[in-house]
């Protein structure tokens, strides 16, 4: 009896739902649905550097003072119109006038001070703060639309750093993370449920009124499903699909996604402490064949930052495929008593990037072909991170670690110190010369800075062969035919709705 009751109730619920199904109804041509690969964990503006949060939040609900130009990595005005360095440790920012938060509050120097204090307050975990490293900020409003930001140490790239500081309304609770962010962006949050996030156009926006009136975000884990949803018109855009799903040239666009894949070599552990062995590792891989796996559009990488980032060295040539040379180097090392026969652990991370597992399997086979003894282990993020970061596990033995690095912040300073300085979080080696070079580069500005970083990259690649850079990765998006939009280097971290135009 009770079963019958439950059944009829559910049937009724289904019926009701079918008559009033708002979720996917396309109310008008300027409403769009975007299908993301994962559910946004939350909508805390302080977590906008996380892809899942940023792709909804950044440039839509919240805006920072500056944005990075993907072409050359330079900071451009957003909520700040211009800025200058007052002295070594102080920058002065001039704020845009007439900007209002979505709750009606005014955007001014106090708001900037509030936002930065909220970020650094420590009452909750602010992910974006990670980009600042150990930099300590103090904010002094000069007048209504001017602020001074002081750092303890000289910070030549502070304007670029501030591109991750999402300005929030002073009405936002300062002591806890929120799921109902209020910013200055062109869209305001309508609803956030376990099924969807809905954004509505914000009428009081300071800039140009965007085309899209309403954006609904949904999420599906399967790439083929996301592709299918755009194909069938259930959605208009998906920022990431797998290479094998990018089959329709009319809707599918590739873009260099600022991610660089590599294998980090644990240079302290024999036989990996021998440069010949490290070079052999680089030479043993059929890079062209590997490229097949990640899409023919991927760029063979010679360094950990993509072209367009300040400090990228365009003259650096990646290692080629030369298994004979690899075998020879290995033989030489062996002759010198290097224990090349030692089993080397190849550590991968599940789901690190599409076809990542297959890639490792292929590389393992190729390395074994030239005479290495490789033992492949796939780890979950938490375990993998133990190998990635200092302090490394005690009994780790010789190991190769699958890594991916994403620098979309315009400057090699977000890459070089952690990887190559002896005190770097990920660094497995210490080289006094490289340390000195890094120290110089970090304090340099303009072309001097660029040159300095370029030298470091060539040093670690050609001389030390410290790691095995693989590819600058390509992302694929599928964009419905009704939209006029192209992905770019920043698509991984933001999808500005305002830039999406409707085809007439």
């Amino acid at each position: 009896m009770r079963n019958k009751g439950a059944l009829s109730k559910i049937a009724l619920a289904v019926l009701l739902a079918s008559t009033a199904s708002p979720a996917l109804a396309q109310g008008g041509a300027n409403n769009i649905t975007i299908v993301l690969p994962e559910q946004p964990s939350n909508l805390e503006p302080c977590g906008s550097i996380l892809t899942d949060v940023g792709q909804v939040l950044s440039q839509n609900i919240t805006e920072p003072l500056t944005v990075i130009d993907p072409k050359d990595g330079t900071p451009q005005p957003k909520l700040a119109t211009k800025w200058e360095r007052v002295n070594d440790t102080t920058w002065r920012f001039h704020l845009r006038d007439g900007v209002k938060f979505q709750d009606g509050k005014e955007f001014n120097a106090e708001a900037v001070a509030f936002t930065l204090k909220r970020m650094t307050g420590g009452a909750f975990t602010c992910n974006n703060l990670a980009k600042f490293g150990s930099a300590k900020l103090s904010v002094t409003p000069v007048d209504k639309l001017t602020v001074d930001i002081k750092t303890e140490k000289p910070e030549p790239i502070l304007p670029a750093l501030l591109s991750v500081a999402m300005m929030v309304s002073p009405a936002t609770p300062a002591d806890k993370a929120v799921n109902d962010p209020v910013g200055t962006g062109p869209y305001k949050l309508n609803t956030f449920t376990p099924q969807t996030v809905v954004l509505d156009r914000f009428d009081g926006y300071w800039g140009k009124t965007p085309d899209i009136a309403k954006a609904t975000y949904v999420w599906r884990g399967e790439s083929s499903l996301r592709a299918a949803m755009v194909q069938t018109g259930e959605a208009q855009l998906t920022p990431t699909i797998a290479i094998q799903d990018a089959t329709n040239p009319k809707t599918d666009f590739s873009y260099l996604n600022s991610e660089t894949t590599a294998i980090r070599i644990d240079t302290e552990q024999p036989p990996l402490n021998d440069v010949r062995v490290r070079k052999a590792l680089n030479l043993a891989i059929d890079w062209q064949g590997m490229a097949e796996l990640f899409g023919t559009d991927v760029l063979r990488a010679s360094q950990m930052v993509v072209p367009g980032i300040n400090g990228h060295n365009p003259d650096l040539k990646p290692w080629g495929y030369d298994p004979d040379q690899a075998a020879k180097l290995l033989a030489e090392a062996k002759a010198d008593g290097v224990p090349v026969g030692t089993t080397i652990k190849l550590i991968g991370r599940n789901g690190i990037y599409p076809n990542g597992n297959e890639g490792l399997e292929a590389m393992m086979t190729m390395w074994e072909a030239v005479g290495f003894d490789i033992d492949l282990t796939m780890l979950d993020v938490a375990d993998w991170t133990r190998y990635l970061q200092k302090p490394f596990p005690q009994e780790r033995g010789p190991n190769l670690l699958q890594i991916m690095h994403d620098n979309n912040k315009g400057d090699a300073a977000f890459t070089v110190p952690i990887f190559y300085h002896s005190s770097g979080q990920y660094a497995t080696f210490s080289d006094p010369k490289v340390d000195t070079l890094i120290g110089e580069a970090l304090n340099a500005t303009d072309t001097g800075r660029t040159k300095a970083f370029q030298e470091i990259f060539s040093e670690v690649h050609d001389r030390i062969a410290v790691d095995i850079p693989m590819f600058h990765m390509i992302g694929y998006t599928r964009v419905g035919e009704s939209l006029d939009w192209r992905p770019n280097l920043t698509t991984n971290s933001e999808i500005p709705l305002a830039e999406i135009r409707l085809k007439k």
């Binding site: 079918s18 975990t125 799921n179 376990p194 949904v218 069938t232 259930e234 952690i418």
Partner: protein, 307 residues
């Protein structure tokens, strides 16, 4: 009978408590959540601050007593990831899965009763063979594989159904279809087996000797008796539906508790893992007690136990 139910309920409470202890300590063995919540390049200081903020720096047993203390105030903890009460997150997702699971198990059960009975009426017949083969094949395929193929065929190629998501009645068809495949296949086998047994039982002979029509023998005598084992199996299958729900919810973007608990453990969102396990365990225990009651309703031998 009520004494029995009381004992059952007591056992359930003991089990739920045991489960909570187990989940608490097991989840904490799976690793430090700071690696998952902070960006890879976060500083060690930031990690320590994170641990201190959420109490992970304290000894495990202190954490556990704190957790128990909070439980007494019905505070199930905060989701690290979603910035809100973990129980709220779990309770929001639970009805979505419940609806899906209830629909799936009832449809599977109802269909299996019809198909299984018809197959048992003539064992070895063409229909029997066909029904067994098809139902078992459905139950034998990996469900995520069926789900994706289903989307490609019914949503993309044929354009009959929406690919995924929630909303209209059409959105229910594929998730329920995939979810019920396995219970349906197994239940057809159970119904068929028990029905074949029931149809050769003595009381069916009595009915035949009374001149009762065959349909009535099948549905009023044999099927009625076969319901009991079928309900037992259906109950067991219902609890394992949570597994199927994980896959179905993942593929179809269904905001249910299966996907939630898997995401939560992958992301080490301990409070959410604990809350989802608590919610599902309670649901399963309630289901078991409901099955006991249903048993008593269906079987007078249990209902009127005097000695």
């Amino acid at each position: 009978m009520f004494g029995y139910l009381g004992k059952r309920a007591l056992h359930s409470v003991v089990s739920v408590l045991g489960l909570l202890v187990l989940v608490f300590f097991l989840t904490r063995l799976t690793g430090d959540p700071s690696y998952l919540f902070l960006p890879l390049d976060a500083t060690p200081q930031a990690r320590e601050a994170f641990s201190a903020l959420h109490g992970f720096d304290q000894p495990l047993y202190i954490q556990f007593f704190n957790y128990l203390g909070d439980l007494l105030h019905l505070d199930f903890g905060e989701s690290l990831r979603q910035n809100r009460s973990a129980m709220e997150v779990a309770l929001e997702a639970f009805p979505q899965t419940l609806k899906l699971a209830v629909m799936a198990i009832f449809l599977a059960g109802a269909l299996a009763l019809v198909v299984g009975s018809l197959a048992a009426a003539k064992p070895g017949s063409l229909f029997d063979r066909f029904a067994s083969l098809v139902s078992l094949a459905g139950a034998s395929a990996p469900d995520f594989w069926v789900a994706i193929v289903g989307i490609l065929v019914f949503a993309v190629s044929l354009d009959l159904l929406p690919t995924s998501g929630t909303g209209s009645a059409a959105h229910w068809i594929m998730p329920i279809g995939v979810l019920m495949l396995r219970p349906f296949g197994l239940l057809v086998q159970v119904v068929r087996g028990t029905m074949i047994g029931a149809l050769s039982s003595p009381y069916v002979k009595t009915a035949r000797a009374k001149g009762v029509r065959r349909q009535k023998i099948i549905f009023s005598h044999a099927l009625r008796n076969s319901l009991l084992p079928v309900i037992t199996v259906a109950g067991d299958l219902a609890t394992s539906l949570v597994n199927g729900a994980v896959v179905v919810e993942s593929v179809f973007g269904w905001p249910g508790i299966g996907k939630l608990m898997i995401d939560a453990i992958i992301q080490r969102d301990f409070a959410v893992v604990q809350s989802t396990v608590l919610v599902t365990a309670c649901a399963i225990f309630i289901l078991n007690i409901a099955i006991d009651i249903l048993y008593a309703v269906l079987d007078p031998r249990i209902r009127y136990q005097t000695s």
